[in-house]
């Protein structure tokens, strides 16, 4: 089974704090991590390899320092890693990113492509389905369980708002995963050594046979016009007194604003 796991290096939002005066992010000293959902995607790939055999390739698009994320994937057990990096990729929106990753996957060859449900910086959840479309393969989003995988067939559970669906598909396929799927393993000692020594393969637009018009800013239909701070929540009221008094005050307030 040829398995490719798409990962993204993101700023660690666990370290993000809000400046209460300006209501903006304090990003001083932020470091980069693998997008948390992607750790579950890597784990899913490793588990399938352990069951049916095969190779797990970690793939990312980003600046040279995104290599750190790929080495981390190798330390967890990925067999190899590929970094798409070039000026031409800069400024890609989700469409251009999907296009570039799909071209790379086409070159590498895959039976199953895993992605995290979404990246925690952009929160779009659009790149996974977009890759599947460019590859011309089916996809299933928000996979919470893989029930069965065998030659040419996979059966999974996908999370819905009101429960879950059991879905079967032919291979190849792209799956986006939620954290309920598994518990990502920590890096092993052997993995860490492998990660240190691993040669990270780099690919450019020419290597993946990409049309430069479809990459980066040129290939991105959407543009960020501006950014601004969200409206601050106004007027917090702390209720005080005995528990009885606090609850009475709360009820009073809820009735006043007609929420009760």
């Amino acid at each position: 089974m040829r398995i490719i796991v798409c990962i993204k290096q993101v700023p660690d939002t666990a370290e993000v704090r809000i400046n209460p005066e300006t209501n903006t992010l304090i990003r001083e000293g932020l470091h980069s991590i693998i997008n948390p959902f992607d750790l579950h995607a890597i784990e899913a790939g490793l588990e399938i390899r352990e069951k049916v055999g095969g190779k797990v390739t970690a793939l990312t698009m980003g600046p040279p320092q995104a290599e750190d994320a790929l080495r981390e994937a190798i330390s967890m057990g990925a067999d190899e890693a590929v970094l798409l990096t070039d000026k031409a990729f800069a400024g890609s929106d989700t469409l251009a990113t999907s296009y570039a990753l799909a071209r790379a996957i086409e070159r590498l060859g895959a039976d199953i492509v895993f992605c995290g449900r979404q990246a925690i910086d952009g929160d779009t959840a659009q790149v996974g389905p977009g890759i599947a479309e460019f590859l011309g393969i089916p996809h299933i989003a928000c996979v919470r369980k893989i029930e069965e995988v065998k030659e040419g067939l996979i059966r999974v559970q996908r999370l819905m708002d009101d429960g879950y669906d059991v879905v079967e598909s032919s291979l190849p396929i792209l799956l986006t995963v939620v954290k309920e799927l598994n518990v990502p393993r920590p890096p092993s000692l052997r993995g860490k050594i492998a990660a240190k020594e691993a040669l990270i393969k780099r690919m450019t637009p020419a290597d993946i046979g990409a049309n430069e018009e479809e990459l980066g800013l040129k290939g991105s239909p959407t543009q960020v016009k501006n950014i601004f701070a969200p409206k601050a929540r106004s007027g917090r009221m702390m209720l005080e007194g005995t528990p009885e008094e606090e609850v009475n005050a709360l009820i009073e307030e809820l009735r006043r604003i007609k929420c009760l």
Binding site: L95, T222, L239
Partner: protein
């Protein structure tokens, strides 16, 4: 690069360097520079005390690269999703937003409905649609990425709406990106506000990014249709007019095939696990509950308030409740009328999932808990004392 440093204004203070999440800024010889890894998040523009970093629009580039014939696209469409043949609540909210935008642009509002019947289609008309494109083929009852993507793409290619809106739900967020990729057009995820620039007919798509700590306005100036998924419960429903008339256009689902197949649908059994995205009230529990039994106490309150049960990541990771209840960055993003956080300290990852709620009530032992920073009403105290008392009082008020 559309973001540049005006060297004459730059003082080399390096504020931008630490603001950049992508390591794209550096300061050498006293002047900042931006490398090719800039993702245009524009954090640097915001923080620069000298106003030395600016975004430049490459006008000529944009004009010459206007994609195809954007002028032939007219009208606004809403994709109305259904589960079990019943239209989801978010669809009516989309019709409310769509009606407002189409009145501004003076165009028709269309709704697309798959796998439901004419009664549901008529309901969409009463909620504001001028036309409903209805395909009631039973094969479309169940959501399927391949068939939904193919049919919606076909309809868009044929009728050319300039804007297509869908719910940012598991269904919308799964197949709409596929449709946008097939049409090679732009898609903005999880919008919380939509406006129109009348002159250019561009849709101003406003959405949270970086976990809700920054809002971004996104445009799709050169491609049509402009597509967006919209977060449930943030748009207001439009007016319901019982006698409103419109046109239903029946669509044949000819030649649709699918590589994926839904073989079973399992509903969440507990009555209290009602759809978090659609609940008016959410009572949510965190580490402060101490154990799984704590949720019984919260369920009582949820029951009297007609609400759903949410949870922080800590409570889910402890195994007290299932992942489908998790609110926050790696769970669900919710915006109910009332969110009651019990024993939740309020880590940023939780806050980003609930801070757009109308009213936030925080109950926590620790007066320093960050949850109080976003609370409308705060009570410092033992939730096991406060919550049962609150349940009892509300019962009295409601005469239950």
């Amino acid at each position: 690069m559309p973001v540049i440093v005006r060297a004459e204004r730059c003082t080399g203070c390096k504020v931008c360097v630490s603001s950049c999440p992508y390591d794209a800024m550096s300061v050498a010889t006293g002047v900042a520079s931006i490398n090719e890894y800039c993702q245009l998040c524009m954090a640097c523009i915001e923080v620069c005390p000298e106003g030395a970093i600016v975004e430049i629009m490459e006008e000529t580039d944009m004009e010459t690269r206007r994609h195809g014939d954007t002028e032939s696209y007219r009208g606004i469409w809403v994709f109305a999703e259904q589960r079990d043949g019943k239209v989801a609540g978010v669809s009516y909210e989309l019709l409310g937003a769509g009606r407002r935008l189409s009145d501004e642009l003076k165009v028709e509002l269309g709704a697309v409905l798959f796998g439901a019947d004419g009664d549901e289609a008529n309901e969409l008309i009463r909620w504001g649609a001028d036309k409903v494109y209805l395909c009631n083929d039973p094969a479309l009852m169940k959501f399927n990425e391949d068939t939904y993507s193919e049919l919606l793409s076909r309809l868009i290619k044929k009728h050319k709406p300039e804007i297509v809106l869908a719910g940012a739900t598991p269904i919308g967020r799964s197949f709409i990106p596929r449709v946008a990729a097939r049409l090679r057009t732009g898609l903005t995820a999880d919008c919380t506000s939509l406006e129109i620039d009348k002159e250019t007919r561009n849709l101003l798509q406003i959405r949270p990014a970086f976990g809700g700590n920054i809002m971004a306005t996104v445009l799709c100036p050169r491609h049509r249709p402009q597509m967006a998924t919209v977060r449930p419960r943030v748009m207001k429903k439009g007016g319901y007019v019982a006698g409103r008339s419109g046109e239903i256009i029946h669509i044949e689902a000819g030649g649709l095939t699918s590589r994926t197949r839904v073989i079973d649908t399992i509903k969440d059994v507990s009555a209290l696990t009602m759809n978090l995205h659609e609940a008016d009230v959410i009572v949510s529990g965190g580490r402060g509950l101490g154990d799984a039994k704590g949720f019984r106490v919260l369920e009582e309150l949820a029951r009297v308030m007609g609400g759903a049960i949410g949870a922080s990541r800590a409570a889910v990771d402890a195994g007290w409740i299932s992942y489908s209840h998790q609110v926050g960055q790696t769970g669900k993003t919710v915006s109910p009328k009332i969110y009651i956080a019990c024993g939740i300290s309020g880590a940023i990852q939780h806050l980003v999932g609930m801070q757009s709620s109308d009213i936030i009530i925080a109950i926590n032992k620790n007066p320093e808990a960050p949850i109080f920073n976003v609370a409308t009403y705060g009570i410092v105290g033992d939730l096991y004392e406060i919550v049962p008392l609150l349940t009892k009082k509300i019962k009295e008020v409601k005469g239950l």
